[in-house]
Symmetry: C2
Subunit: 328 residues, 2 copies
């Protein structure tokens, strides 16, 4: 069978079965959270500290949208990696950038690219600590971000409990709207284009929320809200009931949408919004609101993932952004 005939999650599970910690001899030092299990892998450092790490490959053909500047490519490459660190509630301590560069690339391009990387890292309290450069036909950038979290404040996908509230940071749908504008050569609204070109990793919010000790699960919604709900649902063994009217959407995105179903498509089923999705114990919400902005969009239930819209309850499908295949 060829990869193009498979969906991405089946490919990942084939690979991770080979790497699974449980198949590794007990004497080997291994990850507390291993491949394919969460936004980051987690290694116990002892003395109640955990090292979290994540790697992400971006490349010209699939990841850098039309109109993006070299500086923004650099920013984005760091941001998507830091977003995974944020999703664990961890503090970033460094990021490595491996770059595959076409020989015809202008040196100025590389300078701007590197400056964008540097700016994104610094603005989120960390720095570029190393990397690699390689000659490559297609501009390919692989970041590897590292972070630290203390015991008790590491938030995983696993842990959501029935009755917890489901929340998201920021506003959703802007990147779906931006991608649709690009695809259809429509007017590019600056608000959504900025969201697309310069995603902001929610490092501050992730750390602050984790330190309340009230979060029961968290991940970023880079593949879209729908797939992320399904991922947390599977990891935690729970379901969700999401209220469509509660999903935070910027007024520009509302203006751009020609129908309510388009709005749901952008805010629920499109990837690229690097916001955090988390569950929190209901009694904690007021306290958490004092330290970070977020919106409650639903509740953790026993099973099934549903979207309530205009008084009707429908199954929230498991679809969104995937590298391989066109559905999960």
């Amino acid at each position: 069978m060829k990869l193009k005939d498979m969906n991405e999650r089946d490919i990942i599970s084939t690979i991770t079965r080979i790497f699974r910690p449980e198949t590794i001899d007990i004497v080997l030092p291994c990850a507390v959270v291993g491949p394919g299990e969460d936004d980051c892998s987690v290694i116990e450092l002892g003395e109640g500290r955990y090292l979290v790490s994540s790697t992400d490959m971006l490349h010209e053909k699939t990841d850098f949208p039309k109109g993006i500047t070299p500086w923004q490519v650099g920013w984005m490459s760091v941001a998507v990696n830091l977003s995974d660190i944020a999703a664990m509630g961890a503090k970033p301590i460094g990021i490595m950038m491996a770059m595959g560069l076409p020989p015809n690339t202008e040196l100025d391009f590389i300078k701007e690219l590197s400056e964008g990387m540097d700016a994104c890292a610094r603005q989120h309290g960390t720095c570029i600590i190393g990397g690699d450069v390689d000659r490559h036909d297609e501009l390919t950038i692989v970041g590897s971000a590292l972070g630290l979290a203390d015991d008790g404040y590491l938030v995983r996908r696993k842990g959501a409990q029935v009755g917890d509230l489901v929340c998201v940071t920021g506003e959703l749908g802007a990147v779906g709207a931006a991608m649709d504008s690009l695809r259809n050569n429509l007017e590019a609204y600056p608000y959504v284009m900025k969201k697309l070109y310069m995603p902001v990793p929610r490092i501050r919010e992730g750390m602050a929320l984790a330190q309340t000790g009230c979060l029961t699960s968290m991940m970023d919604i880079s593949d879209g809200l729908a797939l992320s709900l399904h991922d947390i649902g599977v990891a935690s063994g729970v379901g969700f009931c999401i209220n469509a009217a509660s999903i935070p959407v910027h007024r520009t995105v509302r203006e751009m949408a020609d129908s309510e179903s388009r709005l749901v498509e952008w805010s629920v089923y499109s990837g690229g919004d690097f916001e955090l999705l988390f569950t929190i114990r209901a009694g904690c919400v007021e306290r958490a609101r004092k330290i970070a902005d977020f919106t409650v969009i639903g509740e953790v239930t026993v099973d099934g993932i549903f979207l309530v819209q205009n008084g009707r309850t429908a199954v929230l499908e498991a679809r969104g952004y995937l590298q391989f295949g066109d559905k999960v």
Copy 2:
């Protein structure tokens, strides 16, 4: 200026100048050893412990030689990353693998690739802790290896002192010989082909040697002995006098060489031998010999890098394997 008109080290220094820790605000957590400075970056974890990390991009067109199996591609991708951890004297604690995979790739290829990665990691006391899969036109694999070292046992490129002895692990020249065989369609000797397809990272030797407390500098010689000597020379502010007759070369490689200059070309100026080059205080050599095999090939001097061969002393040139440009 385009990258193809520049040499690799100038490209790296352009990039790393942008990321340099000294330009970063003092309140930011930063690396003790930053980009471009050593085989790994180093972050201080406190309590006398250091986190070392390294990332390496490999891809089909430039890194996977003719005849290599998918399993060996996996092995090699992990090995080259672990070699950087070995070069710091650190203990590997995990490795992430980001893979760009062509859609026409067979699933069995990915399974064998992953099994090769897994085998190399396990045989060196660690495991694959995470990664990423991405659709890509060219098979591209980026590993990011993590390791730990205790204070006093972290070995850097900086630190060689005049009078120290210069040593290498294993035997050199096999990969240069193998590459020449492939290029010229000559008979492939199994010994050299195995060295090319399945490099062995010197994790055990790196850790054991570092723990003698006698090493003053170390790096791996993936870009060749000559470039590595120049790198340590610059980092430590010293020179070297290397005795060509002392450079350890396997008898198969000797047999394959049609001249002495070919032998020097393979063992001094070719990359791909993932051995360790290190300097050690002269009084420690006997003690170190009890815990690891290595060969003394020369001495640290005040300046200049020279090769003594058949009673003649000549400048040891700074050339070897580079991704961009054809000379440093």
